[in-house]
């Protein structure tokens, strides 16, 4: 770790002020940032500890939704009674991630902002456009086992590694952001993370000095909530592919199908066309296949990760079959 000054703001305004400079970074749980600082992937000269700014509450919103504070721990969120009862996909996604020890520290804001697990990104002696713009991408010609098959660019094929945000994307949650020079702005989770394009160094829409204050969930809907994570050991492993699904069947036809996917792209992948395709149709293997075709239309593998294309298709089918109680 490089030496840094440790700062602790006493208000949100103060936090903005402290985090505006290029060399300052906010720390919440620290489970991602400190990991990367030890590797010198992140080298802030000022570390701004935002943990004493409150923002831990989980409260109902005026329109019947739920507002989860940016500093609520993953454990608090997953075990909140309202989350468990009304948004089980979120509880399930959080519980499928990391370990209890990590979830006890990890926060809503930090989890959304966690960086890729690309092996080349975390090794400062390797080329990586995300870490060091212009240095090249080690993964494209290297080991791309974990990497993306959707929305990649010639500069970067990394994935967003998290689970929670995949559920938030399926739920169509909103990220509440406090900006230094304006009031709060709200960004749908689906738009929060960016695709790599030519600027893979940017993971998400946050500007310097901005602080996530909360994530807001819309009013709950009656539907089946599933989170399926495919991984290489039975726990404590990142997703190869994951699917968050909120699905309802009425009178034999699909009435709702909000799906999001992890492990496939630089962001939790949400494709509105899937829901258009599925809603109104009777569940069947053929339908799920079509959904798979649509999802993976533009997919491209990089050798090592070619498997993600069939795996995503199959996992989608498995989840839809389970959600709609269809034998396939």
């Amino acid at each position: 770790m490089r030496p840094f000054a440790f700062q602790r703001p006493d208000s949100l305004a103060h936090a903005h002020e402290l985090t505006v400079p290029e060399d300052a970074t906010a720390v919440a749980g620290g489970t991602n940032l400190l990991d990367l600082m030890k590797l010198q992937v992140e080298t802030p000269e000022r570390l701004v500890d935002i943990n004493r700014l409150g923002m831990t509450e989980i409260q109902e919103t005026a329109d019947g939704g739920l507002r989860i504070g940016a500093l609520a721990t993953n454990t608090a969120t997953a075990n909140d009674d309202r989350v468990r009862a009304d948004y089980p996909v979120l509880a399930r996604a959080i519980l499928a991630g990391a370990t209890q020890q990590l979830r006890n520290r990890a926060t809503t804001g930090g989890n959304l902002c966690q960086r890729t697990r690309c092996y080349y990104f975390t090794n400062i002696d390797q080329p990586c456009n995300k870490r060091e713009p212009g240095s090249g991408c080690g993964a494209i010609d290297g080991i791309a086992h974990l990497h993306a098959v959707l929305g990649t660019s010639p500069s970067c094929i990394a994935t967003y590694p998290g689970d929670m945000a995949v559920a938030l994307s399926a739920l169509d949650a909103t990220v509440e952001i406090a900006s230094p020079d304006s009031d709060e702005r709200s960004v749908p989770v689906r738009d929060f993370h960016l695709l790599p394009g030519d600027t893979p160094c940017r993971d998400n829409v946050l500007e310097r000095g901005e602080i996530i204050t909360a994530v807001t969930l819309p009013r709950p809907v009656k539907a089946k909530h599933l989170y399926r994570k495919v991984r290489e050991r039975s726990s404590y492993a990142f997703a190869l592919v994951s699917v968050a699904a909120i699905v309802a069947v009425e009178d034999g036809v699909i009435a709702r199908a909000d799906l999001a996917f992890g492990g496939l792209a630089h962001k939790p992948w949400h494709d509105a066309r899937l829901s258009e395709l599925l809603v109104g149709e009777a569940p069947s293997a053929a339908l799920f296949d079509k959904a798979g075709d649509l999802l993976l239309e533009g997919a491209r593998g990089y050798g090592e990760n070619d498997f993600k294309i069939p795996l995503a298709r199959r996992t989608l089918a498995a989840v839809m079959a389970e959600a709609t109680e269809t034998e396939i």
Binding site: A5, F6, R8, L34, T99, Q100, N104, R105
Partner: protein
């Protein structure tokens, strides 16, 4: 603002270099080497300690972030002359071999039993809303954040089960 951490009941000053992880603070500044460093990156659980009642990886947090907090380490759970019931059960059921992951396992298990009692759910919980049980599968999932390369898992689960059932 206080600049101390309570370690096993005693208030201790926080070191001046903010880079010092809670783990290094415990091991180097406090000489509490029962807490182990297996990876220093949140990937093994050997450094698990209990902070304000919650188990965390002490390697992925800074001592400076914990002023005013209360930390319990393996040394605070029991001693050779007065071991905790879980420590005794680990010996009895041979829940370790080399012993390096063991303090982390025991801190983790200690907190885990409280979590189950408090109704925390896990990835293995079939019903998120039901009562939580210390079933073998629940224990396995909840203890999966503590790697044991010696492969003592089966015995670890047996040891924890014994204490969990005793509690019930």
């Amino acid at each position: 603002m206080s600049k101390t951490i309570t370690v096993n009941g005693t208030e201790r000053p926080i070191p001046s270099d903010p880079r010092v992880s809670l783990l290094d603070f415990l091991r180097e500044n406090e000489g509490l080497t029962g807490t182990k460093k297996g990876c220093d990156h949140g990937q093994c659980g050997a450094c698990t300690v209990i902070v304000n009642g919650m188990r965390i990886n002490s390697c992925l947090t800074l001592a400076a972030m914990h002023d005013g907090d209360s930390v319990t380490t393996i040394e605070g759970l029991g001693t050779p002359t007065s071991p905790s019931p879980l420590q005794v059960a680990f010996v009895e059921h041979d829940g370790f071999q080399c012993g390096y992951c063991t303090p982390g396992q025991i801190c983790s298990a200690t907190a885990m039993l409280d979590e189950i009692a408090a109704g925390f759910a896990s990835d293995a919980s079939e019903d998120l809303l039901g009562e939580m049980q210390a079933s073998p599968e629940e224990i396995r999932e909840r203890m999966s954040g503590n790697l044991c390369r010696c492969g003592a898992y089966a015995n670890i689960v047996t040891a924890i089960r014994e204490i969990a059932q005793g509690d019930a």
